[in-house]
Symmetry: C2
Subunit: 173 residues, 2 copies
């Protein structure tokens, strides 16, 4: 489908986001499993459930604009997930557990920021194209992604970063 | 280098960012060349110069923390760049020029958001680890990335999105 208008671009963006979210549902259980802090694990598990709900909402958005998710693969999310997997494969075993939790948060926040950019763009396009209900759903998901990102920042700053810092000074095992 | 403390993680994050910025310096000229709107082209060219300056500042940060950039490759930025290249290779020729400009902005904003997440994390780690001057530099670059992102939003909303919308309604050629 050539990009002849903002309408085409909206569809293009939504297909990208759809692929991204599906990749995230496969990555989050691995992050949850690798997390040591129970609150961090719970945050990943909560976001997995949210992501599944977001995919259902995206199905509604596709219906609203008269399109289908298709087979587009989000290459950027492939890269983001690959970076997370590299961390799990190369670093998990030999890392200090709290430092590794901080690294997991950093990786997840990069993913959240990708989604914040993508949903912000798609919401704006939907508004321009007159798809008010679709724009409202995209804004709701965007708010959810922003909240997840803030929750991860709070978790990092509520003890994980401090503990990781102390790990280096020999103050903890 | 195993991640035994926040100090190690700071170094790990900075190596990732360094690789990301270097990849961006190779991608931005392609985006600038593909842009139709002269203001958008100028924005990409301006950010290329900024990025080169950021790499020099990162060299300073590495010196401050007693580390070197190394050979780490940022896999996430590889994916983000691959997504941009897919757009250039598959869509550029057959797309409406203004719609394609909007797509370039969307792609660049995803890159900016990656950087915003990455610099925010590195700045926080640097503060925790007591590298005040390094944290200050990282905050300064973070502010620059945020401004670039805002400038791209303004460009999109100052005419490009509207023109792309009209391209679909037949109101323009």
């Amino acid at each position: 489908m050539p990009l002849k208008s903002l309408n085409d671009l909206l569809e293009h963006e939504l297909k990208d986001i759809y692929s991204a979210e599906r990749q995230i549902t496969r990555a989050l259980p691995k992050l949850a499993k690798a997390a040591t802090d129970p609150k961090l694990r719970a945050a990943f598990e909560k976001h997995l459930e949210e992501t599944k709900g977001q995919i259902e909402q995206l199905d509604q958005v596709f219906e609203m604009i008269g399109a289908k998710p298709g087979r587009k693969v989000c290459l950027a999310m492939q890269g983001l997930v690959a970076e997370g997997e590299e961390l799990l494969e190369k670093e998990a075993e030999k890392a200090d557990p709290t430092t590794f939790d901080a690294a997991l948060i950093a990786s997840a926040q990069r993913v959240e920021h990708y989604e914040i950019a993508a949903y912000g763009t798609a919401r704006t396009y939907a508004e321009h194209c007159g798809f008010k209900d679709a724009a409202r759903i995209l804004q709701r998901i965007l708010d959810q992604e922003s909240k997840t990102n803030e929750a991860l920042t709070k978790l990092a700053e509520s003890g994980i970063n401090q503990q990781a810092e102390q790990a280096g000074s020999g103050a903890s095992a």
